[in-house]
């Protein structure tokens, strides 16, 4: 495991240690802290505040300091970050996972956020770890999934983790961000999607781990890019902006983006809401047949948002020949849309998934179709919850960008707006991310998620993540629990 610290000088953590002049320089704090918060270089100083686990520490330095020079404080900057969905705890936890490759050792709530809906009202029912003798050892737990479960002649594709990277177009994010994601996916034995902005040549060495997206604007879609890959994703809609197509504002259409999409520099690019050649389900089947005419063994994924008849969309896609139905819920993000589009309009994903899961079961085709969920999957616990609700796997999006040190400032749509060089194609800002650094950060994030998922699945006494699919008995919803006083808990 390669540790990859922040690229910035003062990483933000939850706690700060305050050291007074009483400090004797004895170095006891350096010796006692397992996380390297304090260092002795000549004199003793606190170097890595951000690693401090705070009150969770079993043997805190501020208690063992002979001079009483240390005190624990909360970092005021910490509380300026984030929002109720991506809390500061979640942001910093993700940074920690991206740095160390495992979940935080303490001090941070890395499992849930503080919103009043969605995954934050769900809890996994996990038996306590110390009492679980029947739990299989970590090495025996498999968290990989099959993506093509139909009996047909398309590729058999297995990914080693139950997630792959969602489409983020070249234009909404930088080439460095894109490449980091793809290379990390390759390292973890999974995939990453190109998004609707075309397939940059830089991705070519990783063809086997790329999913080409065919979106409604058909940007960058060529037979060549469809033939190169083993999975093709139709993007009918995006949960973050249902009813609208892709919308890349003018100042993000840099020369590089315009070249990729063969459009005009500086002019905004709209993808239409529907595919103009698909206004009906038999058109959809024809559309899938078209991709198969170009690449007969491609695995086909259909990405839709979550309207009230999403179950019918799912079964219609099955009969039209798709392998994966990808439900993108309303908590999802977008780096390429005006503010007015970033509203929650579609059905929340935690309702859509069980609906589709049950409907496909009633149709008798659940075993033949892979259900992927996306939109607001922040932690491995969100992954486990949505699988327990009925998905086979998820797509990751914002979490990967947070791993690259996104702070969720919401300035993505303006050209030079991304302070961290992630959601930009400006040549100068793009250089803020070093490719190896970015790649390893996401590898670490994915590794942390994989480890945590293995733990969760193991604790539930299962040997494979596939056993968790649809196991709503492993979940409780706080709003629907009966409390002693009879009102919502």
């Amino acid at each position: 495991m390669v540790t990859v610290p922040s690229r910035f000088r003062n990483p933000i953590g939850k706690y700060r240690l305050h050291r007074t002049d009483e400090c004797l320089g004895c170095g006891k704090c350096v010796a006692i802290c397992p996380h390297g918060v304090h260092v002795k270089i000549g004199h003793v100083m606190t170097k890595n505040h951000y690693r401090c686990v705070g009150p969770d520490c079993p043997n805190p330095c501020y208690k063992t300091c002979p001079a009483g020079a240390l005190s624990l404080k909360r970092n005021p900057t910490f509380d300026t970050l984030g929002d109720l969905r991506w809390t500061p705890d979640l942001l910093v936890s993700t940074w920690c996972m991206a740095e160390t490759g495992d979940v935080p050792p303490g001090g941070l709530e890395y499992r849930i956020g503080e919103s009043v809906g969605g995954f934050d009202r769900l809890r996994l029912v996990l038996p306590p770890s110390h009492r679980n003798e029947s739990a299989p050892p970590d090495e025996e737990v498999d968290v990989g999934i099959e993506l093509n479960r139909r009996d047909d002649t398309s590729h058999r594709v297995r990914i080693e983790v139950p997630f792959y990277g969602a489409g983020m177009s070249y234009g909404s994010i930088s080439i460095m961000a894109m490449l980091s994601r793809v290379r990390a996916a390759a390292a973890l034995g999974t995939f990453c999607c190109t998004g609707e902005g075309g397939y940059p040549d830089e991705l070519k060495p990783y063809d086997d781990h790329v999913i080409t997206q065919v979106a409604t604007g058909l940007f960058g879609v060529r037979e060549e890019t469809i033939q190169r890959v083993s999975i093709v994703e139709f993007k009918y809609a995006q949960g973050a902006k249902p009813g609208l197509g892709g919308h890349l504002l003018g100042d993000k259409v840099t020369p590089a983006v315009a070249h990729m999409r063969e459009a005009v520099v500086g002019y905004p690019l709209f993808s239409p809401f529907p595919f103009h050649s698909v206004y009906s389900v038999e058109d959809h089947k024809k559309h899938i047949d078209w991709i198969k005419a170009i690449n007969p063994t491609a695995v086909i994924s259909v990405k839709v948002s979550t309207p009230t008849d999403v179950d019918m969309v799912a079964v219609g896609s099955y009969y039209a020949g798709a392998h994966i139905i990808h439900l993108d819920g309303s908590y999802g993000g977008t780096g390429a849309a005006p503010d007015i589009a970033k509203k929650n309009i579609a059905m929340p994903i935690e309702y859509a998934v069980p609906m589709v899961h049950r409907f496909l079961q009633e149709e008798g085709v659940r075993e033949k179709m892979t259900v992927i969920a996306s939109g607001g999957i922040r932690t491995p616990h969100d992954v486990a919850k949505i699988i327990a609700l009925g998905a086979d796997g998820v797509c990751t999006g914002t979490a990967e960008l947070v791993a690259l040190e996104c702070v969720r400032c919401h300035n993505c749509e303006s050209g030079r707006g991304c302070a961290r060089g992630i959601a930009t194609t400006d040549p100068e800002l793009t250089r803020l991310i070093d490719l190896d650094w970015g790649t390893q950060r996401i590898i670490n994030l994915f590794s942390a998620w994989k480890k945590e998922l293995v733990r969760i699945v193991g604790r539930l006494g299962m040997k494979s993540v596939t056993e968790l699919v649809g196991r709503t008995d492993c979940l409780v919803h706080l709003d629907y629990m009966k409390s002693k006083r009879g009102h919502r808990g």
Binding site: T153, T216, G217, L218, F219, V221, R222, E223, E224, I226, Q227, H247, L249, G250, R261, E262, A263, V264, Y267, P268, L269, F270, S271, P272, H276, S277, Y279, S280, V281, E282, D283, H284, K285, K286, D289, W290, K292, A293, I294, N295, P296, D309, D311, M312, V315, G316, Y319, P338, D339, I340, E362, E363, G364
Partner: protein
């Protein structure tokens, strides 16, 4: 005859009692329609049911075998064992029985008390449904009654409901309608018990529908030889619910009409509310059912003429409304104000078979929605036997005609005219009607005419249509012909000219001799074959006067000669040397790379499936990867995806297409050339990257959607949304016009700097092969909308295109450098299609004009599409 308001009110009120015992549950859509294939044809003479077979089968990929139905109208009384009088005057009450033993109760409660039954019977059917390949669910047994309402019952009905002002027949119609509603209410519940339902109850037609494919209806109920004037069929693609119920399939009924539908309403609930306000309560919970109920409401209860019915369903809006004459605007406004909530919203296309009993005429009607979101093609075949056709795909029209022509040689395999409707337009109203009127003193034949929504007739070209019969060696000018010199000197263009000149003097029978001789020459060696191919292809592609003969008959002869020539070549296992090799479904495993001097692969598509790994388009891609680069494809019946799958850098490849090609032709091509010797269908050239495409005819919906480049020439018209979302540098020349939404969101850079453009000439060929301008170069109201790059060069000497038709663009005059840019393409256009720049394009009202005054340029307005207003 429009009824007065009180009468309408009384009829509506009379239905109140029908609804009292219905549960007040919300009417949500139980079935998703979405996809389908629809087809229909009307013939001046009754024709057999087997002819609805081929087009239905070829549209399998538009359905999923979970619902299919047909309607037959204008029946032959002999085949039904009734007199003509009974057939015309009685109601054919046809009931599908799903549960044994229910009919005793049904007859006792709903038939015996009210009807005089002139005949009742069980419909014959194949003994074991499993004998029909692919049919998985047993179709219902059908009980049929020819009935009239007993006069005392009718009188009581009129009195009780205050309907004394209705004529006997009107009252009887309403009684039958209400009685069938009661039957359906009692014996059929979509969500519960289903024992029987009424399939149809109108006069001189019936409906049959099953859980299966449409043509299986014909097979199961043994209708192959059953004759009718009008047949319509529907292949359904339902997407919800495991147990399919036959009553959910189309067609649906009002009273005297059968309606099939392709599409999906976004406002189903609103339409249902609208109907409920008029005491109409849908029982089968599908879009199609409410469409039929709306049609019946407007045409029978309100008594609107077809024009108003169509306006109520598909209102004329925006610029099209402004173009209407003031009197029409007044009436349409009133119609819209009254009926807008019942107007279906969303993609839809209706085909309706209607018995207009008041005017004693049968009608086949096609209506398309105002946003033109579904494909639709109409066709007219005139001659001794007249046929009108309307379908989701042109290939289904051709399949129908081919089937008919094989039985009756008076019917050709090609129509005289093919066209699309422009939904909600002031030009045709988005609807066409084929009328079958009686011919005095001839019972078994009717006269077919075609009109648009406004009553404007559509006519076939003049000319005799007798199909020639080959008599063998004959005396006549034909047999004196020596065309050998054209072969000896390798001059296909001169042979073409010779033939088109001689067409003036020769009768058909004389024409056939040179065709036979051309074939004989072609069989001799490859060089002569190439002359023959060149000549015959030119006869297909170009327009020339045919004098007293019909173009379609000549085309039919050419097609048959070509097929004979193509099929004469050896397969891939032949021993002898040769440039040309034939491959077909039976010999497809022989596929290998070319050896020795083999160059051209001739693909006989006729038996290949329309898509998938076994399709002929996949075969062509495989053949290309093995080394073949020249392809001739013929015998097409709507197969799809030709040219797809060959990947990048295919500049050396050329594909020639003969026959009824299918959707997605030439999509994604990157380098190759494709020549379509006829009309093309939908989604042609989608995401095309580079290469050359020539279409000797019209093309269909979303032509070149998302295209990135290419050089494309279209001899005729495009349909809806051509070049939408196209980028890069496509250079396209459309000689005709389009339905609407040309080049929406075009992003093709600066045409004067390597970017893309469209040249729109707005011309057409008349029946004698002369080029003339169309009424307007662009009739729609959404030209170049939201485009940020590229340009449209439109031939518009009279300045007919105005700013109101644009949305974010501007019209400027042509500059010399624009002219120099498009001139080479116009020259190529002239070479390909014979459309002369000097004589046809730059001649206006008899005099030559400067190109800078004939053409105008539509280009993006500077910075018009910045979204700064979109809510920061």
């Amino acid at each position: 005859m429009m009824k007065n308001a009180d009468t309408v009110e009384n009829i509506v009120r009379s239905r109140r009692s029908l609804l009292e015992d219905l549960p007040t549950r919300k009417c949500y859509k139980k079935e998703e329609e979405g996809g389908c294939g629809v087809t229909g044809f009307a013939s001046s003479i009754p024709v057999r049911g087997k002819h609805i077979f081929e087009p239905s089968r070829q549209m399998h990929n538009r359905g999923n075998g979970l619902g299919g139905g047909i309607a037959a109208m204008g029946l032959d009384p002999d085949m039904l064992d009734v007199s003509r009088g009974i057939l015309e005057d009685d109601y054919m009450l046809q009931i599908a029985v799903l549960e044994q033993g229910v009919m005793g109760d049904l007859e006792k409660r709903f038939i015996e008390p009210y009807f005089k039954v002139d005949l009742n019977e069980r419909l014959p059917h194949v003994q074991d449904f499993r004998d029909i390949p692919g049919l998985a669910i047993k179709p219902p047994n059908i009980w049929r009654y020819f009935v009239r309402v007993k006069p005392p019952v009718l009188q009581e009905f009129k009195e009780r409901n205050n309907l004394l002002q209705l004529t006997e027949r009107q009252a009887e119609d309403e009684f039958v309608f209400q009685n069938s509603f009661k039957i359906n209410k009692t014996y059929y519940d979509v969500l519960g018990n289903q024992s029987a339902f009424v399939l149809s109850h109108g006069r001189n037609f019936f409906i049959l529908k099953i859980v299966g494919y449409a043509e299986q209806v014909v097979q199961y109920y043994q209708l192959e030889d059953f004759k009718a004037h009008i047949w319509i069929a529907h292949q359904r693609y339902p997407t919800k619910g495991r147990v399919w119920h036959p009553a959910g399939a189309h067609p649906f009924i009002g009273l005297n009409e059968a309606l099939v539908h392709n599409g999906d309403f976004a406002n189903y609930y609103s339409v249902v509310e609208y109907l409920r306000q008029r005491n109409i309560y849908p029982l089968f919970l599908t879009d199609t059912e409410v469409s039929a109920l709306l049609f019946d409401l407007y045409s029978r209860i309100y008594g609107y003429p077809p024009e108003y019915v169509i306006e109520a369903l598909a209102p004329t809006m925006e610029r099209d409304f402004d173009q209407l004459p003031p009197e029409r605007q007044r009436i349409y406004r009133a119609i819209q104000a009254t009926h807008i909530h019942g107007s279906p919203d969303g993609p839809w296309f209706f085909i309706i078979a209607r018995n207009d009993t008041v005017n004693r005429r049968f009608q086949l009607i096609g209506i398309t929605d105002t946003s033109m979101l579904r494909p639709q093609v109409f066709a007219l075949h005139d001659g001794e036997v007249q046929v009108g056709l309307v379908c989701s795909e042109k290939q289904a029209i051709d399949a129908t005609l081919k089937s008919l022509s094989q039985e009756d040689s008076r019917i050709g395999s090609i129509a005289d005219r093919y066209w699309n409707a422009r939904g909600g337009s002031h030009t045709d109203g988005g609807a066409f009607i084929f009328n079958l009127d009686e011919i005095p003193s001839i019972a078994a034949e009717r006269r077919l005419t075609c009109v648009d929504k406004f009553g404007e007739p559509i006519k076939a070209p003049q000319g005799d249509v007798q199909y020639p019969i080959y008599h063998g060696a004959d005396d006549g000018p034909g047999s004196q012909v020596t065309i050998s010199r054209f072969f000896n000197h390798q001059q296909p263009e001169l042979l073409y000219e010779y033939l088109t000149n001689k067409a003036r003097d020769w009768a058909y029978n004389s024409l056939i001799d040179p065709f036979e001789e051309i074939k004989r020459w072609a069989f001799r060696n490859d060089a002569y074959f190439e002359v023959a191919l060149g000549t015959l292809t030119k006869l297909l592609d170009l327009r020339y006067p045919t004098y007293d003969k019909r173009r379609r008959t000549i085309l039919q002869m050419v097609h048959e000669a070509l097929e004979g020539m193509f099929r004469h070549f050896p397969y891939l296992d032949a021993q002898e040397n040769g440039t040309y090799r034939l491959i077909d479904w039976e010999t497809r495993q022989l596929l290998r790379g070319p050896i020795r001097n083999e160059k051209v692969m001739i693909v006989d598509s006729s038996l290949f499936p329309p898509e998938g790994n076994d399709g002929d388009s996949r075969l062509i891609a495989e053949a290309y990867h093995r080394g073949w680069t020249q392809f001739i494809v013929f015998g097409l019946k709507g197969q799809r995806f030709h040219g797809c799958g060959l990947g990048p850098h295919t500049g050396a490849v050329r594909i020639d297409i003969y026959g009824s090609s299918g959707d997605y032709l030439g999509s994604g091509i990157d380098g190759l050339s494709i020549y379509v010797h006829g009309n093309a269908q939908d989604q042609v050239g989608q995401i095309m990257k580079s290469g050359k495409m020539v279409i000797y005819g019209d093309t269909g919906q979303t032509f070149m959607y998302g295209a990135k480049g290419g050089e494309v020439y279209v001899m005729g018209n495009a349909a809806g949304r051509p070049l939408i979302n196209a980028v890069g540098k496509p250079r396209v020349l459309i000689n005709g016009t389009c339905l609407d939404y040309l080049a929406e969101s075009f992003m093709a850079g600066d045409p004067l700097n390597g970017g893309g453009f469209v040249v729109l000439n707005g011309v057409e060929f008349d029946d004698s092969g002369q080029v003339r301008p169309q009424p307007t170069p662009y009739p729609g109201s959404n030209l170049f909308s939201l485009a940020s790059g590229g340009a449209i060069y439109v031939r518009d000497p009279f300045g007919q295109v105005d700013e109101e038709q644009l949305n974010g663009g501007e019209i400027v005059s042509l500059q010399q450098r624009d002219w120099l840019l498009i001139l080479p393409y116009l020259k190529e256009n002239e070479k390909l299609f014979g459309i002369s720049i000097e004589k046809d394009l730059l001649t206006v009202n008899g005099g030559q004009m400067s190109p800078l005054r004939v053409y105008r340029k539509v280009r993006p307005k500077e910075n018009e599409v910045e979204p700064t207003g979109l809510g920061e």
